[in-house]
C-alpha cells in the first residue's frame, strides 16, 4: 500500500541541482554563436525621439548592430502595450527602452549602449501621486475584469452616526519585486522556428504573446523555463527582455541573450504602485462595525492600465451593514505598475488591519476580540457563504502560541518592546490547465504539465499529487514542467498554480487509472497515456466565497536612540485548506512573512519628482531585508477540510504570508511607542521623528 504522499514534508526534486550549481537558469544556456544585447533607457520622462545617433555605438569593437524604432522588425500590436518595443518614437516614461545594442560580448554591449546618443522633444510631465489628484478616475473593472468597487447600505450616514469612529489615511510607497534572478531571455530562430529560454512564471502565456507579436503559430514557438530565480509577480507575463531577445535574434540571425540590469528593473518589469488608503470605520460602543469605507488612491501608467486593488479585501473581512470600497486611479507619466506578491491585498490589508487596531484602541478592546466580534457569516461584499473560514481559529491559535495575552509593553533601557496582531486573507483562484499522465512499462509514471517552478517546489508537489491519485510510491512518478511544448498551463501566480496544475494532474491520473483498469497484459513499449483539460470546470462560477485566512503576530524592539525597529519574533497561523507539502509550504509562508517584514520596515522606493524614475533603483538603496533583519519566524496552520476547492482540497499559500505582516509589525510599533505611524516603511527617519513628537 502506498503511503500518502500528500502533506508529507518531501524534499525538493531539483534541490541537489540547485545546491551544486547544476541548475540552469534563463541566462545560462550556451548556444553556438550567442550574441549579447543591452537595452538603452530613455533619458527623459515624456516626449518623442527626434534623432538617434547609433554611429558611435556601432563603432565600438564587438558591437554587431543597434536596433531602434527606425530599423527594428515590426511587431503586431500587443494587448500589453509595454511590449510594443522599438516600434515608435514615443517615450511614455523615463527608462523606456529606446534602443537595443547587440554585441559579441556583454562588455561590448554595455560599451555600445553607453555610446548611443538620443535626442528628444520633451513634453510636460506629472509623476506625483496625491489624493484628490485632478486626473483621478474610478474604474468599474480592473486588471482583466475584476470589480473595482463595492457598495451597500448607506455608509456615509452610518459612519457619521457611529458611536465610535476612526478616520485615518495610510500610505504605502512604490515597491519592487526584485527577484534574485534578474529578467533574462535567450532567443534563437531556426528556419522560422523560435526557441526561447526565459525567466518566467508561465511560459505558455509567453508563447502566446510571442506568437501574436511575431505572427508565428504557437506550434512554431518553444519557451522554456526549467529553473526560475523568483518572480513575485514581476515575471507573471512576458516582459521586455523576451520580446527584445526574439526581436534581436530575428534581426541578426543569431541567438541573442538579453539580461536586464538590476538597476533598470524598476522601470521595466513592473512595480507595486503606491497607495493612499483612507479608512473610515464606524462602530457601536461594544465594537460592532456599523460602517466600513475604504477609499484607495493609486497610480497607473499611460502605457498599461493596472490598478493596485487595495480595497477589495475590505469587502471580505468583517461584517458590516454599510460598506463602501472605491478605487481612484491616477494615470501618471510613470513606469508601468504591475503585480507584486498579493497585489492589492498586501497594501489594502496593511491599511484595514492598522485601522482595526486603531479602532480597538478607541474602544479599549483587545484587537483579537474586536476582530472576532465582527466575524461575518457570509462574505460581506459578495454575499456568498464561505466555503471555509477559520480566521477566528487562526487568531486564537496564534494568540496561544505567541502568548499574546501575557505580553505587556516594556522598556529595556532605551529600547521599547511591543507586540502587534493583524489578520490576513487571500482569495482562492484557479485557472484551466491541461496535463498528461502516462504509465510506462518499467512501472514508472510520467506527468507532463507546463507548470513553472519559481521556487515553490512545483515539481515536487505535483509528483505528490500524482502519486496519491495513482496510489503509487512517490519515487515512481516523474514530472516534466517548465516547457511550453508540454500541455498548456497557467502561470505560477495568484497563489493558484498548484490548484490549477494539480487539478489537471489529478484528473489525468484518475483517467489513467481507469484506462489501466481496462487494460490487460503488459504495457506497450511507449506506455499508456491520457490527457486531461480542466477548461470549463476550473473556471466555472462557484457558489461559495473561497478565501484563505491567517493571523500574524509580531514582537518588535524600537530603539529610541536611533529610531531603528527590529522584529524579534514573527508568527503566522494559516487556514489554507489542506497543506500539500509541509516542508515547502512552510518555506513559502515564511518567505511571504519575510517580504512583509521588508514592506513594514526596510523597503521603500521614491518616484523622483524631478526625474520621473525611482530614486532607489539598486539593491544598495532599495533595502530588501538582509539576514540580520530576519529573526526566527514561525509558520503554523490549521487543517481545513473544504470540499469546495479542488481534488486536493488546497488553497493558495504563496502570498498570504505577506498580507498581514506589515500591519502586525506597525501595530507592534504603536504598542511599543504609543506613536501611530501611517506611512511605510517604518525607517529610522520616520520613527525617530514620531518619537520626538511624542
Amino acid at each position: 500500500m502506498a503511503r500518502t504522499a500528500l502533506g508529507a514534508p518531501v524534499e525538493r526534486r531539483e534541490g541537489l541541482a540547485k545546491v551544486t550549481g547544476a541548475a540552469r537558469y534563463a541566462a545560462e544556456h550556451h548556444l553556438s554563436g550567442l550574441a549579447h544585447a543591452r537595452a538603452v533607457p530613455a533619458g527623459v520622462i515624456r516626449g518623442r525621439i527626434t534623432g538617434i545617433d547609433t554611429g558611435p555605438a556601432r563603432a565600438v569593437p564587438g558591437v554587431l548592430t543597434v536596433l531602434t524604432h527606425e530599423n527594428a522588425p515590426r511587431l503586431a500590436e500587443p494587448d500589453d502595450a509595454t511590449l510594443a518595443l522599438l516600434q515608435n518614437p514615443d517615450v511614455p516614461h523615463r527608462g523606456w527602452c529606446v534602443a537595443l545594442v547587440v554585441a559579441e560580448t556583454p562588455e561590448a554591449a554595455r560599451a555600445g549602449a553607453d555610446a548611443v546618443r538620443v535626442s528628444y522633444d520633451t513634453a510636460d510631465h506629472d509623476v506625483v501621486l496625491a489624493p484628490g489628484h485632478p486626473g483621478a478616475h474610478e474604474p468599474e473593472e480592473a486588471n482583466g475584469g475584476q470589480p473595482a468597487g463595492h457598495r451597500h447600505g448607506d455608509p456615509e450616514s452610518a459612519f457619521a452616526q457611529a458611536a465610535v469612529r476612526v478616520d485615518v489615511t495610510y500610505r504605502t510607497p512604490p515597491l519592487h519585486n526584485h527577484p534574485m534572478e534578474p529578467h533574462a531571455s535567450t532567443a534563437t530562430w531556426d528556419r522560422g522556428r523560435l526557441t526561447v529560454y526565459t525567466s518566467s512564471q508561465g511560459t505558455s502565456d509567453v508563447r502566446s504573446v510571442l506568437a501574436g507579436l511575431f505572427a508565428v503559430p504557437v506550434d512554431r514557438i518553444t519557451v522554456r523555463a526549467e529553473h526560475v530565480g523568483g518572480g513575485f509577480g514581476s515575471k507573471g507575463s512576458a516582459r521586455p527582455d523576451v520580446v527584445l531577445a526574439a526581436l534581436a535574434a530575428r534581426h541578426t540571425g543569431r541567438p541573442v541573450r538579453v539580461t536586464w540590469p538590476r538597476r533598470r528593473m524598476p522601470t521595466a518589469v513592473g512595480h507595486r504602485a503606491p497607495t493612499y488608503s483612507r479608512l473610515r470605520l464606524g462602530a457601536t460602543s461594544d465594537g460592532r462595525l456599523t460602517a466600513l469605507l475604504h477609499d484607495v488612491t493609486t497610480h497607473t501608467s499611460p502605457v498599461r492600465s493596472f490598478v493596485e486593488l487595495a480595497g477589495t479585501t475590505s469587502g471580505v473581512m468583517y461584517a458590516t451593514p454599510n460598506l463602501d470600497v472605491v478605487h481612484h486611479v491616477v494615470p501618471l507619466d510613470v513606469p508601468s505598475p504591475s503585480w507584486m506578491r498579493a497585489p492589492g491585498e498586501a497594501t489594502g490589508m496593511y491599511a484595514l488591519e492598522s485601522a482595526m487596531d486603531e479602532l480597538a484602541d478607541e474602544l479599549g478592546m483587545d484587537p483579537i476580540e474586536l476582530r472576532i466580534r465582527n466575524e461575518p457569516d457570509r462574505e460581506p461584499a459578495g454575499g456568498l457563504p464561505f466555503s471555509s473560514r477559520h480566521l477566528v481559529e487562526c487568531l486564537r491559535e496564534g494568540a496561544r502560541r505567541f502568548d499574546w495575552h501575557h505580553h505587556v509593553r516594556h522598556a529595556e533601557g532605551p529600547v521599547l518592546i511591543g507586540t502587534g496582531v493583524a489578520a490576513a486573507t487571500y482569495p482562492v483562484m484557479v485557472s484551466p490547465c491541461a496535463a498528461t499522465a502516462a504509465a510506462l512499462p518499467d512501472g514508472t509514471f510520467e506527468i507532463r504539465v507546463n507548470a513553472s517552478d519559481i521556487g515553490t517546489g512545483a515539481r515536487t508537489v505535483l509528483a505528490q499529487i500524482a502519486a496519491d491519485a495513482l496510489a503509487v510510491p512517490l519515487d515512481r512518478v516523474r514530472t516534466e514542467i517548465g516547457d511550453s511544448d508540454l500541455p498548456q498551463a497557467p502561470v505560477a501566480g495568484g497563489s493558484s498554480g498548484t490548484a490549477s496544475w494539480g487539478s489537471a494532474v489529478h484528473e489525468a491520473c484518475a483517467r489513467l487509472l481507469n484506462r489501466l483498469a481496462d487494460h490487460t497484459g503488459p504495457l506497450p513499449e511507449h506506455g499508456i497515456g491520457v490527457r486531461a483539460d480542466t477548461s470549463g470546470r476550473a473556471d466555472a462560477d462557484c457558489p461559495y466565497a473561497r478565501h484563505a485566512f491567517g493571523a500574524h503576530f509580531a514582537e518588535v524592539a524600537v530603539d529610541t536612540v536611533t529610531g531603528e525597529v527590529r522584529v524579534r519574533r514573527l508568527l503566522g497561523v494559516y487556514a489554507a485548506g489542506r497543506i500539500l507539502n509541509a516542508r515547502t509550504a512552510r518555506s513559502q509562508f515564511v518567505g511571504g512573512m519575510t517580504m512583509g517584514l521588508g514592506m513594514a520596515l526596510t523597503e521603500g522606493s521614491t518616484l523622483d519628482p524631478a526625474f520621473g524614475d525611482f530614486a532607489e533603483a539598486d539593491l544598495a538603496s532599495y533595502h530588501v531585508p538582509a539576514h540580520a533583519d530576519v529573526p526566527d519566524i514561525e509558520a503554523h496552520w490549521i487543517d481545513e477540510d473544504d470540499p469546495h476547492l479542488n481534488p486536493m482540497g488546497s488553497k493558495g499559500i504563496g502570498e498570504i504570508g505577506i498580507v498581514g505582516t506589515p500591519a502586525a509589525i506597525g501595530n507592534a510599533v504603536h504598542h511599543a511607542t504609543g506613536s501611530r505611524l501611517r506611512t511605510l516603511p517604518l525607517t529610522p527617519d520616520r520613527v525617530l521623528t514620531a518619537l520626538n513628537a511624542r
Partner: protein, 176 residues
C-alpha cells in the same frame, strides 16, 4: 573612441584546474566563470556587489566575483559552488544541510549563500570578529557563532524568497 579591445593573458586555477585565458581587461571573474568556463553556479544578481549571489572563494576567502577584474587575479585559486565537493563524492555537508533544512526556494542566491557561509565559518575560526561580536571578546581566538553572529556574517547575501531562517539552521548544522 575605442579602436580595439585591450586584452592580457592570465591563468586562474578554478576548482583545482588551471585555465590560461586571453582576457578582455573589462571582464570580471563572474563573467569568466559563467561565459568562458561554463560554470554558471555563481549567479549574477546585481553585478555591483549589492546582493552576494556571485560569491565564490578566491584563495580561500569569500569575495564578490562581479567586482573583481579577472586580469588582476592572475595566479589565483578560485573555488565555486561546483567545486565544493570533491569529484565522485556526494554533496558537501553544508550542501546536504541546505537540502535537509529546505534552506532555499528559487535557488538563485543559494550558491552564493553556500560559498559565503563556508568563508564565514573559516573567518570565525580564524578569529575574525563581526559587527555583533562582543568587543570584550579576547582578540586572536576563534569566535563562537550563535544565530545572531551567523545572521550578521551572512548579511552580504540577499535572499528574496525569505529562506533566511532555514539557511541559519543549515549553517548551524555544520558548525564543528
Amino acid at each position: 573612441m575605442d579602436s580595439e579591445i585591450q586584452r592580457s593573458e592570465a591563468t586562474l586555477r578554478v576548482n583545482g584546474k588551471p585555465h590560461t585565458l586571453l582576457l578582455d581587461h573589462r571582464r570580471v571573474l563572474l563573467d569568466v566563470l559563467r561565459e568562458d568556463l561554463d560554470l554558471t553556479g555563481a549567479k549574477k544578481g546585481c553585478d555591483h556587489g549589492q546582493c552576494g549571489a556571485c560569491t565564490v572563494l578566491a584563495d580561500g576567502r569569500r569575495v564578490n566575483s562581479c567586482l573583481l577584474l579577472a586580469v588582476s587575479l592572475d595566479g589565483s585559486d578560485i573555488t565555486t559552488v561546483e567545486g565544493l565537493s570533491a569529484d565522485g563524492e556526494g554533496p558537501h555537508p553544508l550542501q546536504r544541510a541546505f537540502l535537509d533544512r529546505d534552506a532555499f526556494q528559487c535557488g538563485y542566491c543559494t550558491p552564493g549563500q553556500l560559498c559565503s557561509a563556508l568563508g564565514a565559518l573559516a573567518e570565525a575560526a580564524a578569529g575574525h570578529p563581526s559587527h555583533v561580536t562582543d568587543p570584550a571578546l579576547p582578540s586572536g581566538r576563534p569566535v563562537p557563532l550563535d544565530r545572531t553572529e551567523i545572521r550578521e556574517r551572512l548579511s552580504g547575501n540577499l535572499c528574496r524568497c525569505g529562506a533566511y531562517p532555514r539557511i541559519v539552521e543549515a549553517v548551524e548544522d555544520v558548525i564543528p
